[in-house]
Symmetry: C5
């Protein structure tokens, strides 16, 4: 899986019938310093994520194993919204601003 | 999935029998600034897309899950034609020129 | 799928038993200008292609869906020999030299 | 599979229900010189690995074939903790410091 | 599939139970000039290959289709040992030194 930041939304009416109702988001890969990179994908949303959130995306056939993507022609899915990232013993990211300030 | 622009067509008569009737298009990857990159793939078309359109492509085994690609030896499929792209709160692309001018 | 040029042959006697009789070719990725790149793969041949031909290759589990690669441990297959490539409205490649000179 | 070093932990409460109880770790790709590279992924842990350990990760659908990841929407799993790496005839890494000093 | 050279061995005792007895090798990608590149993977061995040999590796779900890797959590397998490579009409590699000197 990869870490990404939700940065946008794709609207498409002309599409495979099975995709009706599925939310397609633009997610930008993050570096280990949590900086957005130039790389991005279109991912289906399975967890109600919104712009600006840091998420975990699964790709390939595994992207079809969430409840909302079963048997759909999608190869990337947001399957978790990150609360906290701990890297080399320090909290590098926390969704709640208060907690983020409590770094180790 | 990735964002791409349809830029060409592949014609092939000598091919796996199951591919008969399938439209194979050349699609060029787009950057997050919606500029074409050097990267491209050959994708099966499942939605009737044409040259110049911005599309969403699924890859891998998921590319076989549209109605027209079921069980075919294809690893990329155009599964949606983009109407609108909203990135960081602004409409960055709209298929209809009129709507595109109404940026936020 | 990707566009490639057939550039060589792999001969291997010590291999998984299921691969007996399968032709393994070296195919070099082509750029959108149809120039060979540094990237190449070993692909199973399902269409009787030969050195110098421009082909379309499928990868991953889809590579096992041609008649000759069913259930084999292969992740890339040549599934079509290109007759014509039309890019941005012009014929950029044609297998028959005569037709190639008739560009739009 | 790829060699990686465990460098962090991902905590996420809002996620696909099937992921409950699964440990998600940040693992950084290693070069052949065993130096960490800029590339990293989020991998499920199936072997009880901890920060600083050198591990082997499987990706794609194969990541769902360990006991703890069966049918889960994950595309990367730590499936082994490395004891020893022998490269070109020399022991380049050993988990136990004593053994590491006995290089050939 | 890709061409690679076997350069090392991975020893791991703490691993997914299904991996017991499987040989894990380090294989380095080769360029079309047959030079080792910086890229490498850990691959399961299905053909009894040894250090220094030039091999063909399959990846993804196809890596599980050899006799020794059935249903295992592995995403790369050595499925053939190369005898001869013919590129652009010339023998560029031959496992037996005598044959290698007979270039076209």
């Amino acid at each position: 899986m990869f870490l990404a930041k939700v940065v946008g939304t794709v609207v498409a009416t002309q599409k495979d019938p099975k995709l009706a109702g599925l939310k397609l988001l633009l997610v930008q890969h993050l570096s280990l310093d949590l900086e957005p990179t130039k790389s991005f994908v279109v991912a289906a949303d399975s967890v109600g994520s919104g712009t600006g959130e840091v998420v975990v995306c699964a790709t390939g056939s595994s992207a079809r194993l969430t409840e909302v993507t079963d048997k759909l022609p999608v190869d990337a899915v947001i399957m978790a919204i990150v609360d906290t990232l701990e890297i080399n013993g320090a909290i590098k990211y926390s969704k709640s601003p208060e907690a983020a300030s409590v770094k180790s």
